[in-house]
Symmetry: C2
Subunit: 343 residues, 2 copies
């Protein structure tokens, strides 16, 4: 939409209207993943009627959903036949090794969907309005959903991290994976470094998923677990690496610092804590994915945030670490901060 007006030129309201209805895109993609529409097209069903039979849906419903996905750029259409785009073939066909469709199940969980219907309440309060602390409540079943659905994108980021840590050439490692979830960060390091021993810490219900993934990844012999609250359990000691993937953003600075003291105590001299997180630049508005993640923490936690490198560096220094270093993980949306305990 472009406005044709006398001067002064009327700005284009297109982006604003697109944002008003942006939730339609999420809803459509969620439905297509649930119905496994992309896999059905990859398997050769290309008309609305064929897809309806294969997906167990109404032909009219499929036609309208698939047309929407064409307008959104996730399918193409020639006559009455739909086809995948290169991106949907790679990331949304369940038979693709890079399949990431399951991530939408976690990202659009009922709690998330409801939270984003009422962002205003969280802005007024300055934190989540969900009961019992939102996503950081004990044994919250959403973390099982997280572990099941976010493993593929995490495995992708974990391989980038393994490169940054030069895992294949590294010596024997004892690794603690905090709030391991799917466990893919530790599991991937174990795959890349055959001398690595992994200890995965999370709620007991979540560790079931991590253990499945460790077996599937062939590293179950070097994979142990600690079940419980990361702030209360005995972390053990003698770790060369402590992984903090997507963990610190859930908590306020004082809580993070108290926890990092415990992490430091569990590390060997010269050991490293490795934060993998959404780390915005100091102005807090770039890069967009990392910067915008702060809103997810506002609506979902009492006091979490997307911390800048300066903030993380200060937390680690306060907790007694010697140095912290920011490492990029392109093309992932996340960054790593490697913090070293003095040797």
């Amino acid at each position: 939409m472009s406005a044709q007006q006398e001067s002064p030129a009327m700005p284009d309201p297109g982006e604003i209207f697109a944002a008003f209805t942006a939730f339609h895109r999420t809803g459509a993609l969620k439905a297509a993943v649930e119905l496994d529409l992309f896999s059905a097209i990859a398997a050769g069903a290309t008309t609305a009627d064929d897809l309806a039979r294969r997906c167990g849906a109404a032909s009219r419903g499929i036609r309208i959903l698939a047309d929407f996905l064409v307008t959104a750029g996730f399918l193409t259409k020639e006559g009455t036949r739909y086809a995948l785009t290169p991106a949907s073939a790679t990331f949304l066909d369940r038979s693709s090794p890079a399949y990431m469709g399951s991530a939408i199940t976690f990202l659009t969980s009922p709690m998330m969907w409801e939270s984003f219907a009422n962002v205003g309440a969280a802005v007024r309060k300055g934190g989540t309005v969900a009961s019992e602390g939102g996503v950081v409540a004990a044994e919250n079943p959403m973390w099982v959903e997280f572990a099941r659905s976010m493993a593929p994108p995490a495995a992708f980021a974990a391989r980038l991290l393994a490169n940054v840590l030069d895992a294949p050439k590294a010596p024997q490692w004892k690794v603690l994976d905090v709030a391991a979830g799917h466990g893919m960060f530790g599991i991937t390091l174990a795959q890349e470094n055959p001398r690595a021993q992994i200890v995965a810490l999370d709620w007991a219900n979540v560790l079931t998923v991590a253990e499945e993934n460790a077996r599937a990844g062939g590293v179950q012999d070097r994979f142990r677990t600690i079940a419980g609250n990361a702030f209360e359990v005995d972390l053990g000691s003698g770790y060369d690496l402590v992984l903090l993937p997507n963990f610190l953003h859930h908590f306020d600075v004082a809580t993070c610092e108290a926890f990092l003291r415990r992490v430091r105590a569990a590390l060997v001299p010269g050991g490293r804590a490795v934060t993998v997180d959404f780390v915005p630049d100091e102005g807090r508005v770039t890069p967009p994915v990392a910067a915008s993640f702060a809103l997810v923490m506002l609506v979902g936690t009492p006091a979490g945030d997307a911390y800048t490198f300066a903030e993380l560096d200060r937390m680690f220094r306060t907790a007694g670490f010697a140095t912290s270093e920011l490492r990029e993980l392109p093309p992932s949306f996340q960054r790593a901060v490697v913090s070293t305990k003095a040797s």
Copy 2:
């Protein structure tokens, strides 16, 4: 995010991930409109602390929301000061004559938000899974919300329609505005043509809003109403124009055709029915806003659709109209179809 891979090149998953979280944009913009954040910035509050005081919110909440809006392109940030973009100043500051922020209240009503959380169910069924026919249920209070919040964008489209119909130079008009809602289509024609008499038809609860708007628009002396179900009430007769703004898309073809027979009977010879609607091209995937609107009808109605011009033309011919003509309403997202009864 761009993938740096060996051949074959890995496609970019950026658009897919953006769609997974696109509902965050809607939620953030909805909150900012509720808190009247844009108007507060226009009035001179530019830091998170100032905005928090003026909006009655937590400074931390405002900072995170405003940063998100910068990443989304609706604000700018210099140091700790936020500013409006040309588009947000024009369309989201409540003191701007082109303010359209209220539209998000209707577009993100609880029923809409819930419907888009479960698009899959509507695709399986081929129509809304909401009870009592979804949005077309009798006296649905959402139409009062619609009338209150969608008046500004409708007034914009109505002025474009008045141009297409050459309203200022037109003769005396008797105009029926079907499902008038806010009444802005009829009211605008009355403003542009001082010889026009308007009859607005809608549910009684909705007509209250249209009557307010007619008074505010200074045309109350030429504005009458018919309360009730458009399919059952006496429409009256002798109309030169019958307006069908955003009406036909709620119903199946047979229901539309039956209604259009009633419309034809109410028109004078040579009279015109004027459909203003989301009219996709025949391939149903362009232009994007009109084409994607079909999904709103899938989740919200039993059998509504975004009809192409060929489909509308066929409906009007079946109902006895002589000719139909497609008229563009740039820069609006909508199109007009002007259908003439033989004289």
